[in-house]
């Protein structure tokens, strides 16, 4: 029911005075209904230039083959698969926020799920482009699909994790897209009903004729809940299967049973870091401080420190098992992450992923926006190096010392990587201009129970006890969108 009061001990999920249902709509749709500002244009032009660079570098690869990259016969996978796993990992937070947190009834997901899901979809697009371009003959990209063919039919090998991966990534992408779009329907209808002319026509088509009747909402809720239920194991399965691409091989450094949980934790870790990177900027630029509050930022930082520490434990167990196995090759692979020629990559990996996030144990740091943003970037860098270390460091010194080699990226490798970031940001910036970046229908649900003004009313009515109020007011100290002066008189 919308009328019950939430405990005063919980921090508010919507801050600000005089927030009404109308105000939520106005605030969220502001970027969609108005001309973009200069900050958006600068961001968009830079991102679009990156996307053009990506287009050029990928076309160059298609034309010349993957000889354009810095690969050699020892290091057969490098920045391509590093980039692929990095992007897929980033793509994990969106569905985690929208599905897992829905099942756990974490209401704070309501304000951030939409942009996180959009981010998921764009990140998986970037990952998929890496997979296609690393094939060498991308026009045969349909070969991993079990299609009837003129060779027999010769079917694909279903024992291969690479085939599992094709199914996992494509299912993940399409189910995430459906989940995202179903959630968008009511919000697109809001834009439709406020727009005029051509804009109304376009959003009318996109809204599928949504009208918000009792039955539609009832079905909508059932569908959301079940999609969340099936998407939750799906998220876990995707990175599990990505990790099996490595774990089922016999390369020291890859052949590790801890890989599935370790990769899943790493994916959530990097995904939340990317959500943090994007949302801290978005909330400022779009003026959404009242909806994406310090509570959201702090909660995400807590997840980052938790998953970062899980990743840390996984690293430790890898080292332990390498030592305990007594296998010299295995031990060498792990020790040479610090002593070999790529020692700096190893230090980046362990430093950025395990050591730096530990700063989030301090509340002062968790609630500091500038530091949180910097740390989220550091985590993104660290997670890229993690994949680089796993892939390249395990390959470049293989079983035969005479074939040991180093990997040097060419300009094409670098351009595709920078370009894929450009593609990602181009899509994200377009998204915040044409679709609501906050799920309005879901945020409206929070207004009467979890907003600052509802809690303020409770305090004014004197229904709650004093210590609890003091605790609550103290917890608002770190909010940049709350004025402490308002509470002095109460």
């Amino acid at each position: 029911m919308s009328s019950h009061n939430e405990s005063i001990l919980r921090e508010p999920l919507i801050t600000g005075k005089d927030i009404t249902y109308a105000k939520i709509t106005e605030d969220v749709l502001w970027p969609v209904e108005n001309k973009p500002n200069r900050a958006w244009w600068i961001g968009f032009i830079v991102a679009a230039m990156g996307a053009c660079l990506w287009l050029f570098a990928v076309s160059y690869t298609f034309w010349n083959g993957i000889g354009a990259w810095g690969l050699n016969k020892t290091v057969g996978w490098a920045w391509d698969i590093t980039g692929f796993v990095w992007w897929v990992g980033i793509g994990h937070a969106g569905t985690l926020i929208s599905a897992v947190l829905l099942l756990f009834r974490q209401k704070w997901r309501n304000s951030i799920n939409r942009s996180a899901e959009a981010m998921t979809i764009f990140a998986v697009i970037c990952a998929a482009t890496y997979v296609v371009s690393h094939m060498g003959r991308p026009w045969l990209a349909y070969w991993p699909l079990p299609l009837p063919n003129q060779f027999g039919s010769l079917w694909v090998n279903f024992n291969s994790p690479l085939v599992w991966d094709v199914f996992a990534i494509s299912t993940y992408f399409s189910v995430s897209l459906v989940f995202w779009y179903v959630g968008l329907l009511p919000d697109i209808a809001t834009i439709r009903d406020r727009a005029t002319g051509l804009k109304r026509r376009i959003y009318s088509i996109l809204s599928f004729g949504w009208n918000g009747s009792v039955k539609s909402w009832q079905r909508f809720e059932t569908v959301s809940l079940i999609l969340a239920g099936v998407a939750t194991p799906l998220v876990l399965s995707v990175h599990t299967i990505v990790s099996m691409d490595f774990a089922t091989s016999v390369i020291p450094g890859w052949h590790t049973t801890i890989f599935p949980p370790y990769f899943v934790a790493g994916a959530i870790f990097s995904g939340f870091a990317m959500v943090q990177t994007l949302l801290l900027v978005t909330r400022k630029v779009l003026g959404l401080e009242n909806y994406i509050t310090m509570f959201h930022i702090e909660s995400m930082n807590k997840i980052i420190v938790l998953t970062g520490s899980i990743v840390g434990v996984a690293y430790l167990s890898e080292f332990f098992v390498a030592w305990y196995s007594g296998v010299e090759g295995e031990q060498y692979t792990f020790i040479h992450r610090f002593t070999g020629p790529y020692w700096w990559a190893g230090c980046m990996m362990y430093g950025c992923n395990v050591v730096m996030p530990q700063l989030f144990w301090f509340k002062k740091i968790r609630t500091n926006i500038a530091i949180s943003w910097c740390l989220s970037i550091i985590v993104n860098i660290g997670m890229w190096f993690e994949r680089f270390v796993i892939i390249v460091l395990s390959l470049h010194r293989d079983y035969l010392p005479s074939s040991w080699a180093m990997f040097y990226p060419t300009w094409v490798d670098i351009s595709i990587f920078i370009g894929s970031i450009g593609v990602f940001f181009t899509l994200f910036l377009l998204f915040i201009r044409v679709l609501p970046s906050v799920a309005m229908a879901e945020v409206r649900l929070l207004l009467k129970t979890s907003s600052e003004q509802a809690k303020k009313k409770l305090i004014a009515e004197g229904k709650v006890n004093k210590e609890e109020v003091e605790y609550y007011v103290e917890s608002l100290d770190s909010y940049d969108s709350v004025e402490q002066a308002d509470y002095v008189k109460i």
Partner: protein
């Protein structure tokens, strides 16, 4: 007055709207439908809307995916062209699990969402059957069919009493999007 087809009560607050539904029902006035900008629990029960059976659809679609996936892999790996891959068994159930699982999820999600769109008549380009434009933003709307012969004055009074901030007497059912 005979031109009026629907009477709409616009509320600013969901709880007042729920109160309005009770008021109308106490006076035996049938409600056509309720339009809200967010899901509100409790209306379905008041209006006697039956529970959604989409969960059953989801289960059936999911189990179809399970059997399709497993059956396909079994046929291809063990029946149609059993290949000798390092002398390993052709019918390797553990290896079939990941794709069977993915197809379960895929069928379940797409089957259920298609059923949802089909039953709710949602598809791209469908003309929206909307009675009040603000019902998707900040108004909670109770719609009453005026042709059912209820006393419209009484309806107005009851809605006002429950806290409706605006009452509309519409002579056409839906808003025109032209």
């Amino acid at each position: 007055m005979s031109d009026i087809k629907y009477i709409l009560g616009l509320f600013e607050d969901p709880d007042e709207m729920l109160h309005g539904i009770d008021k109308l029902q106490e006076n035996n006035i049938g409600i056509y439908d309720v339009y809200t900008p967010m899901p509100i629990h409790g209306i379905e029960n008041k209006l006697g809307v039956k529970r959604s059976r989409l969960d059953i659809v989801a289960f059936i679609c999911g189990i179809t995916g399970t059997f399709t996936g497993f059956g396909m892999i079994y046929y291809m790996m063990a029946v149609d062209w059993p290949m000798n891959i390092g002398g390993k068994p052709n019918f390797a159930i553990p290896d079939f699990i990941p794709i069977t699982f993915e197809l379960t999820v895929l069928f379940c999600a797409f089957g259920m969402v298609s059923a949802f769109f089909f039953r709710t008549h949602l598809f791209p380009g469908r003309a929206p059957r909307v009675m009040e434009l603000r019902a998707s933003a900040d108004r909670f709307v109770i719609a009453i069919d005026a042709k059912k012969g209820f006393d419209s004055q009484k309806i107005d009074e009851l809605l006002k009493e429950a806290g409706a901030i605006e009452i509309k007497h519409n002579d056409r059912k839906y808003v025109s999007y032209e």
